[in-house]
Amino acid sequence: MATEFHNLQELRHSPSLVTKVFIQRDYSEGTVCRFQTKFPSELDNRIERTLLEETVKTLNSYYAEAEKIGGQSYLEGCLACATAYIIFLCMETRYEKVLRKISGFIQEQNEKIYAPRGLLLTDPIERGMRVLEISVFEDRGSGGSSPSSTMSSGSSAR
């Protein structure tokens, strides 16, 4: 037991930390689902701007496609109304289909781009479509490379 405590105490001083960066929604065009393409400063040295912006733009286009008001959505709505909305129990709506595409896209992005850089995207649907959550991991090997300011202030507060 004592040995275990000792190891654990040592490990507490290792610099590996985790933080989360949140990309908020962009409401400038109304209540449609869009995320801000502003690059968060915490990720400056973790990932290239263009990559993240590209991901967010693609996500925004997927959401725009899901919420597009056009012929197909009207048809779906009218058909649902005519069947007293029972059809929603049997059929997958277009929105749900696009959401599945989005989660596939996010997984692919995580595998190819973000995980190699020690980052992880969380599907916005799991956060109520409010934020795009990016978890930042630090490799224990790299040791102390630019911990985020909140973390350092946290340790100083202690």
Partner: protein, 465 residues
């Protein structure tokens, strides 16, 4: 300092070890709980989370009763006479309308109106940080507001203290249901639920079809009485002759017609101008507001487009994932039973990925197909859930007998931003005070990083106190 607390492991905690492991084993053998069981809002769930209703279901039984009784009387007493004298389509039309009304009512009552899940502690901490550092988010201390531009119109977003987030536009917090609801219209006691983005079209079709139904029944009853009185009898005699229930049917229809027709007309106006009842009542976009001309930034300036968008637009998904499973309990690294460390780990529980090293993350990303689904592990256990819905809310707040529990309980008011999906306080506290159990976990890297994480998010929670 944490080191000292770390050393001062409560011997009681160690003695609890076998029990905790046993409890964990038992818990794993039991079915994992679904998220609806720990939902923080004042809602009731049926059919294992498929149906949602407000806890204050108001007069929904009365609504159903009135509709069923009125239609029953109509079919029993009026239809035979009218079929004989007029046409057989009378009960057919009546039947179709009745079915439509009932289905719309049930859809309105039991559909999630567009509830926004509460912010996770990390999100809440991030928002707090932004408000504190920038200072420009609010120009005066509480109430917290944020101004944004929507279609060149200034809109104020309010901070919701219960849900710990800035409410999106058109979202309002329903005090009866204790939830933020998107495109909040109103809380309808007749329907027993809020009316919001996802069930507004059902509500609208309910009141429109109900208007048609009541008008139809009213018309048929009047026709019936008229026809009877035309058969050589006076009106009074006709009424007396017909069953004594006529006045009831007539009275219900008469009073409901005016209110239902009025409501339908009002909502037709709202739909055509893309407004919600909430906005209309508050006068958010009325041009009388001071000297500014506030226009509704959401309208498409065309009645047809507004109607189509509101009623036939795409059906948004439910954001609260009622039937997802709670994430499996992860051992929490905090050594002491100090409550300071516990809320962060509750948050970490919510996102399993945070307790893994980058390598583990990469492995899981590559190997696991449902990795993005972090909050709801995709391995449903098939043990049946026999827990009663009504007793569920009581169970989730039941104090647990573990050591760390009392501090957890004290923590509850401060950490109301606790993610709704990881209310397994009992388990958290057991694991937090048991480093021996932590080390028994399969991957040593897991334990190490989990411990490190213990330090990090504390700062995020300081402003929340």
């Amino acid at each position: 300092m944490k080191n000292c607390e770390y050393q001062q492991i409560d011997p009681r905690a160690l003695s609890v070890t076998p029990l905790s492991a046993q409890n964990l084993g038992e818990k794993k053998a039991q079915s994992p709980r679904r998220k609806w069981e720990v939902f923080p809002g004042k809602n009731r769930f049926f059919c294992d989370g498929r149906l949602i209703l407000s806890r204050q279901s108001g007069v929904l039984p009365l609504t159903m009763g009135l509709i069923v009784v009125t239609c029953g009387l109509f079919f029993t007493f009026d239809c035979p006479f009218l079929v004989k004298h007029l046409t057989v389509f009378i009960p057919v039309i009546g039947g179709v309308l009745f079915v439509f009304v009932v289905i719309s009512l049930l859809r309105t009552s039991f559909t999630d109106p567009g509830i926004l899940p509460r912010a996770t502690p990390d999100e809440a901490a991030d928002i707090e940080r932004q408000i504190d550092t920038s200072g420009s988010s609010t120009y005066r201390p509480p109430p917290r507001t944020k101004e944004i531009l929507i279609n060149q119109q200034v809109v104020k977003l309010k901070y919701c203290f219960t849900c710990k987030m800035f409410r999106p536009p058109r979202t309002s917090h329903c005090s009866l249901c204790d939830n933020c609801v998107e495109r909040f219209d109103h809380h309808c006691p007749w329907v027993g639920n809020c009316v919001g983005k996802r069930n507004y079209r059902f509500f609208y079709s309910f009141i429109i079809s109900l208007s048609f139904l009541t008008s139809f029944i009213f018309g048929c009853v009047i026709t019936h009485i008229t026809l009877r009185s035309q058969e050589g009898k006076s009106l009074v005699q006709a009424i007396q002759e017909s069953p004594a229930r006529y006045p009831l049917c007539l009275v219900i229809c008469f009073f409901s017609i005016w209110s239902i027709l009025g409501l339908s007309g009002f909502h037709t106006y709202l739909v055509a101008s893309n407004l919600t009842t909430n906005e209309d009542i508050k006068g958010s976009w009325s041009s009388k507001r001071g000297a500014e001309e506030s226009e509704n930034p959401y309208t498409y300036n065309s009645i047809i487009t507004n109607c189509c968008v509101t009623l036939c637009g795409p059906m948004p998904p439910s954001l609260i994932d009622r039937r997802g499973f709670l994430p499996p309990d992860e051992p929490i690294p905090a050594a002491s039973a100090s409550d300071i460390e516990l809320p962060p780990f509750r948050a970490k529980n919510d996102a399993n990925m945070c307790t893994q090293s980058t390598k583990d993350v990469l492995e899981r990303v590559v190997h696991s197909s449902d990795f993005p689904v972090l909050c709801s592990p995709g391995t449903p256990k098939t043990t049946p859930q026999v827990l009663n819905v009504s007793s569920r809310p009581a169970l989730t707040t039941e104090p647990s007998p573990s050591v760390g529990c009392t501090q957890q309980q004290a923590r509850q008011p401060a950490a109301t931003a606790c993610p709704p999906f990881s209310r397994s306080n009992k388990r958290d506290s057991l694991h937090s005070i048991n480093p021996a159990f932590r080390l028994a976990s399969p991957s040593p890297t897991l334990s190490r990083t989990t411990l490190i994480l213990g330090d990090a998010p504390d700062t995020g929670f300081n402003p929340l106190h």
